[in-house]
Symmetry: C2
Amino acid sequence: MNKKELSIDDIMCMEQRYRAAFINSLGGFKSVALVGTRSAGGQTNLAIFNSLFHLGANPPLFGFVVRPDSVERHTLANILETGQFTVNHIRPDFYRQAHQTSARYGADASEFEAVGLTELYRNGWQAPFVAESEVQIAGELVRRVDIAENGAIILVCKILFVSVPETCLQPDGYIDLEAAGTVTCSGLDSYHTTNRLARLSYAKPDIDPIEIAVTNGG
Amino acid sequence: MNKKELSIDDIMCMEQRYRAAFINSLGGFKSVALVGTRSAGGQTNLAIFNSLFHLGANPPLFGFVVRPDSVERHTLANILETGQFTVNHIRPDFYRQAHQTSARYGADASEFEAVGLTELYRNGWQAPFVAESEVQIAGELVRRVDIAENGAIILVCKILFVSVPETCLQPDGYIDLEAAGTVTCSGLDSYHTTNRLARLSYAKPDIDPIEIAVTNGG
């Protein structure tokens, strides 16, 4: 394919929204999930995030990025206030509602009601899960890391509870997210389903990896 | 689907490799890319990472996670030494070679040669690009953030140069990564192509988002 090459000067000269779409595309396909929170006063909030990343399995940690000056500010305020939130994977049958949570609803509106998704409570956890979601996680804030360069905040979080479809859990702990219907995203606004090429065995020097079978029913 | 529910106690009781596969799956589909580096002494290195995340567009920043005690240690050493690296998207025709870079080759071996991928140099950049890759990025280290909980390191990085297929660049700055053949991954070892559901317009309260057409040729 013919290539377009861009320097940092070209990038900094881009119109702001063009640059946002361009730079957001560069990271490749991304995790996308709905983060559910509830304020101490009981107001629920639901927001879509595409910056979740794995930080470690022992203890189970992940991170995600929040912009304090964006529509994400209610999510941030609730997490800083209560320490609690949920992460809910998105399926093709409600990705439009998930996208719609990024609209600027007021502080007294719940995106659950506004977009037509269902709050689910369990195990005494204060933050609402998304009932329509097949993969649900309860997360607790460990600490925040402020990024001085642009005011972004990385929230370092611990996983406390997980609900996954039984048939998607494989014998070695891998979760077949494709079977669970989890979607991925690219850029700011593009949603995609997936087709597995293969699972590959643990890589060792001078040995070609073999394919690991993925079975229905774990 | 019937659900399996797991508490933090259940997770901490898992066998170590089972837990790694399980927790790595929870984040959803992830960015996966090859990071190319070169030591001050000239030794090249290539490693696969699935933790890239967007941090901001102005300036263009992203982050990724490195484990100092893992096969990723050569990449980390080279980046700390030179400040320079490349990020290269992975396509279906070389995802097996990309996965194979995660084998524990010695410090005096180049994964480029070991797995059969081609070093490409341009613009005086010291770190090698992957010639087979259609989306290539030159990145510079801004600073490191140490995660006390598990010894992981988040590298905060700035984008300095980008090469993308001309036909994939859309009029609004979005890059059609599906057309570029970029793959995504899940868990530790599963690779996937994608099928676009839709691009959705910027969300506003009480208005249903419309689909944005993706065109060939930008």
